[in-house]
Structures are given as C-alpha cells and as structure tokens.
C-alpha cells in the first residue's frame, strides 16, 4: 500500500474521532497525515522504516 492511500484512511478516521468529540486524538491523526503527506509516493513499509529510524534518534521517542 502506498502512503497516499494510508492518508485517506487516516483522514477518514480523523473525521470520525473529531465527530465523536475526541479532538485530541483527531489532532494527532492530523499530525500523522501531515507527516505522511511529504512521502506520498513511498510504500507504507518503507515509510514505516523511515519513521522508526527518526523516532529512535528523536529525544521524544
């Protein structure tokens, strides 16, 4: 699956969470789809590796 397809799934979920009043999770899903937006042509597997490597060196995670 390509990242642009994943974005569609995340955006649909984000709308559901926002509709249910769970704004915090909806916002985090928006941030995730923003992160995905820079890598739309990649496969999700390759993108996940990229994120995992960045998360390892990230002081936050």
């Amino acid at each position: 699956m390509k990242v642009n397809q994943l974005i569609k799934v995340i955006e649909s979920a984000e709308r559901i969470y926002r509709g249910n009043g769970d704004v915090a999770v909806a916002d985090s899903l928006t941030a995730l789809s923003d992160l995905c937006a820079d890598h739309q042509t990649m496969t999700v597997a390759a993108f996940a590796k990229l994120v995992a490597n960045a998360a390892k060196i990230s002081p936050q995670g």
Partner: protein, 159 residues
C-alpha cells in the same frame, strides 16, 4: 493533547476496522506505522510527530555518505591540454588528404607523451567531427585514421 499511547490505540482500532472490512493489507501497514512510532507512550503525539518530521527533513537535506561513511567526492573533470590539442588538430587538418603528411603528423600525435587520454579523445572528436565517448586511446587513434581515409575518399570522389 493526545499521547503517543492514545494515538497507537486509535491506530490499532483503525487496523481492526480494516481487518474486519477485509482489508488485510491496510491493517498490516497501519500496524507497521503503530510499531514505528516507538514505545514511549506518555509523550505528546503532535510534538513527537513534528520532531520526526523535522528529523526526516534534515536527513534528506544532508549530503549522502559513501559506503565507508566518507563523503562522496565530486567527479574529477580533467583539464585539457588546450595548446597541445590545438597544435595536433591544426597539424592533422593541414595534412589534408596527403597520406605522407598525415602519417607524420599521426606519428607525432601518438608519440606525444604530454597528451592524456582525454586530450587524445578531444582531438579525435574534433578531427572526425563526432561526439563519441572513446573507451581507449587506441579507439581514438583508430577514429582519427578512419576520418582521414573518409576525407581522402570524399575528395577523390569529387575529382
């Protein structure tokens, strides 16, 4: 403010929903993203994601290192020995279709140690009026000889 833990739970729910809808591939990919987000659950998701985004962007702009970690050197562009190239080219052209003169000039060219492979290739390209990328000096020399023969034959035809 949602934490990474909450975001992971939300992604797990989405993966379950995909699985229930028969989209196994999508469910598997979402799980990959969930796992990639790290194990620290209490950090703010938006902050972590924006940090990851910055890190990836920084990684993109950094010059790629070679296999041994060394930076790739810029490709070397050898400077041509312009004077020698011009000298030999003029001699070859002055020889015209005179075989003896050409042979002498050609010998001088092949004996010239100051010429590099790039210089010889440049002479061959200009003399034969081609854009060939020669694989060897020998190939360049052969092309010069062929160009002379071609020129001589053409002049003979016109007579």
């Amino acid at each position: 403010m949602a934490t990474i833990g909450e975001l992971r739970r939300a992604l797990d729910d989405i993966a379950h929903l995909c699985l229930a809808a028969g989209a196994k591939g999508a469910a598997k990919d979402i799980k990959l993203i969930t796992e990639a987000l790290g194990s620290i659950a209490h950090s703010d998701a938006v902050t972590v994601l924006s940090t990851i985004r910055t890190r990836i962007a920084e990684g993109r702009t950094k010059p790629r290192a070679g296999r041994n970690g060394a930076k790739r050197a810029a490709p070397k562009i050898a400077a041509l020995n312009d004077d020698a190239v011009a000298h030999h080219l003029t001699s070859l052209r002055n020889a015209g279709t005179n075989r003896q003169l050409f042979d002498m000039t050609f010998q001088a060219l092949t004996a010239d140690k100051s010429l590099t492979a790039a210089d010889t290739a440049e002479i061959a390209r200009r003399y034969s009026d081609t854009v060939t990328k020669y694989k060897s000096v020998k190939a360049a020399h052969a092309d010069i000889s062929k160009a002379f023969v071609r020129q001589a034959r053409f002049e003979n035809k016109l007579r």
